[in-house]
Amino acid sequence: MSLDSRIPEGPLSDKWTNHKNNIRLVNPANKRNIDVIVVGTGLAGGSASATLAELGYNVKAFCYQDSPRRAHSIAAQGGINAAKNYQGDGDSVYRLFYDTIKGGDYRSREANTYRLAEVSTNIIDQCVAQGVPFARDYGGLLDNRSFGGVLVSRTFYAKGQTGQQLLLGAYSAMNRQIAKGKIQMYNRHEMLDVVKVDGKARGIIARNLVTGEIERHSAHAVVLASGGYGNVFFLSTNAMGSNVTAAWKAHRRGAYMANPCYTQIHPTCIPVHGTQQSKLTLMSESLRNDGRIWVPKKKEDAEAVRAGRLKPTAIKEEDRDYYLERRYPSFGNLVPRDVASRAAKERCDAGYGVVDNDTKEGVFLDFSSAIERYGKEEAHVKGLKNPTKEDIQRLGKNVIESKYGNLFEMYQQITDENPYETPMKIYPAVHYTMGGIWVDYNLMTTVPGLYAIGEANFSDHGANRLGASALMQGLADGYFVLPYTIGDYLADDIRTGKIPTDTPEFEEAERNVRDQIDRLVNNNGSKTVDYFHKKLGLIMWNKVGMARTKEGLNEAINEIAALREEFWKEVRIPGTAEELNQELEKAGRVADFLELGELFARDALEREESCGGHFREEYKTEEGEALRRDDEFAYVSSWEFTGKPSEAILHKEDLQFDNVELKTRSYK
């Protein structure tokens, strides 16, 4: 099948408006006869469910959590971008579009990215109308801050809990529709297969996680908003339950997976402490507005810090290597995430890491300069003539506390160290997956009637996502894009009537699900699910992580295939399938990660260039920067499932750039 991205004709800035004017609509009376299933209730799924229900469709929404409010969008900290230009610092829709294309290292679609920038301003208006309490200044107007990879302040925020506030906004919009009966909510349910009838997505098979019951649900269209697959690395900043299962089952039913190897490794996370660790915690990128990143200049100092013989505060200014400021003077500590992460790895690999863990992986994020700067400012504002050093420290710490208080608290809780007194220690960790299900301009997958929105799709961030853009994309897709584009498809279904579930197609899909569950609970192997998940994670981190080589990727592919075989022989699931059984849930998810991991490594192997979060050691400049190969690789890798990950067929969607010139990204 050839890939048609269905990008509308016309100039870039008119495409979305023209498209909206020309696509088909469904009349309100007919919407009442159309059902839509939405899987996932994060920013994308929550906002889509609410909006589709407002429009009049009958929505069935599913989440594996006990309430839609707990989807992992809730954990996003820093903020949401929008081209409002409230600060008058030169921002515009075009500039947000350009920053996003450049930040993504020229591996995203122009038309999608422009549309994202275009609707970004509506998101802020909508959220304020819903009662989302964004940060405001003393005049009562909305405040902004800056994020990595850009030169303007366009990020709206609610302290370090922006994702929480936006998600609760979408959740409240859902609640209004649940109360009206327009959304039927299925909490503690997990989607385990897509059902296709005559080639179209017409329903799902879901497991009730409390009773174990396998349920058939039909609809005229199915929307996947099931998030990213960073947990293929075992350790990540994702929630414990975040998984690829919904997306992978869709892939097995014909939805292509695009750019699976594009993964964001976030530079500012709390370093790994030991083998009992279950997840990693992010420290918001907003901290890089005021924190300076460094390692000791001398190896012996780094060694002494690791051994606990030397305090970082005792290292003199001239003995510190502020390596981001040194290498990238114009963006400094605010370079994009992929660049900051690789630079940290480079220093630690060279022996300058400051954390005493197995791999000596960690660098400092230091607020002492900011405390002093803010302290002096405050002293001036307060009219203190000759402030003492203590005055300045106290005043400066107050300012830092008001900006980042909750993050500092979180850090201290986890590490038992006080970041006001000693620099934070940070290291990159898996955070977000830019890759995902391939979709066209209408956000429809290669399966008619099956849509993918938010992190679950691949569409807007190219090979690297800019900070504060995930929330923007989730809400743009759910509130403003999908509700329009899905009508174009559903216009053909006004006379279809209810989709029956007592058909051979539902029968087959249900049997498929039951077979896998039966196999898992009756396996009686000798090893736990986590044993396999941790092993997979190590292979991925060491060979498919921040730096990839042909040799390593080939090894990873073989090792993952072997591990998958061992999993199906040796995994042990306690209990039964007819009750709440979290081990069974985990097993199903890890089984899918074991397939995805192999495709992920294949995708990385096939892409013989470095771009954004994908870094191949063979393709770098003399200075060690990523070397893109636009002549050969300016395309979306889109994989078709044919029975095994090793036999997936690659389809290429060529990327056309008519409005921006492809340049080597420079943040120097």
Partner: protein, 254 residues
């Protein structure tokens, strides 16, 4: 980070097969728990051992493991979310305990939060309270007025934010001798009451949400303040006072 290794612990964990069955406390011994592990990682170790021995692991709710999703809900040594202040169970670290300690782990206890299995309870009553009015009735159009059209006094915006940080975990209910949901309900009421956008529906909202909370079987508030102390997000009792004022004003107006 601390380098001390190997805490020895005795756990008394509530086991209950399902909603209908009668539960009991089971005793487990654990050795070599790192003080840097989180409380939930300690339970992971327990479960790993139970699975190896062919026993069924302890079920508990958890997801983000960074204190924001509100899933985790353990009653530890007689306190919701354990001995720490302003943290959830997943943010509690084993360094808060001593080598050789005996630790009691129970589910939230409240009529409105029935046990599903072991330490997992059903908190859907909280969702239903939100359905009764926890929203502002505005459709998604993209054509609402500009976000800066109505300035909001910074103090009100900040207080609305503080109220809105409730994670819906239910610790307030678990801490309360009456199993009252007043802190939870008042947080939502306050968020909207402090913003101009929330004014239009304020009267119906407070009456409907309070009514729903009563129907769900949550008890009345007797102002002991245990909820405020145990709340991992530090939601203030002032919100309950504000809810009561709103409720009174709504009752007088109707």
């Amino acid at each position: 980070m601390s380098t001390a290794k190997g805490m020895k612990l005795t756990l008394k964990v509530w086991r209950q097969k399902n909603a209908e069955s009668k539960g009991n406390l089971e005793t487990y011994e654990l050795e070599d728990v790192s003080p840097d592990s989180s409380f939930l990682e300690m339970l992971d170790i327990l479960n790993d051992g139970l699975i190896q021995k062919g026993e069924t692991p302890v079920e508990f709710d958890h997801d983000c493991r960074e204190g924001i999703c509100g899933s985790c809900s353990l009653y530890i040594n007689g306190e919701p979310h354990g001995p720490g202040r302003r943290i959830t169970t997943c943010q509690l670290h084993m360094r808060s305990f001593n080598d050789g300690d005996t630790i009691y782990v129970e589910p939230w206890r409240a009529k409105a939060f029935p046990v599903i299995k072991d330490l997992v309870v059903d908190r859907s009553a909280f969702d239903r309270i939100q359905h009764a009015g926890g929203y502002i009735s505005v459709n998604t159009s993209g054509n609402t007025q500009d976000a800066n059209a109505i300035p909001v006094e910074k103090e009100n915006a900040d207080q609305a934010f503080d109220a809105a940080t409730c994670i819906g975990c239910g610790a307030c209910v678990a801490a309360c001798k009456n199993a009252s949901a007043s802190l939870f309900v008042s947080a939502k009421i306050s968020q909207y009451a402090l913003l101009p956008q929330g004014q239009v529906e304020a009267k119906d909202r407070v009456q409907n949400m309070v009514k729903q909370a009563q129907e769900e079987g949550f008890g009345p508030c007797s102002n002991t303040g245990a909820c405020e102390i145990e709340c991992p997000k530090g939601i203030s009792l002032e919100n309950i006072a504000r809810m009561n004022r709103e409720y009174l004003a709504a009752s007088l107006a109707k």
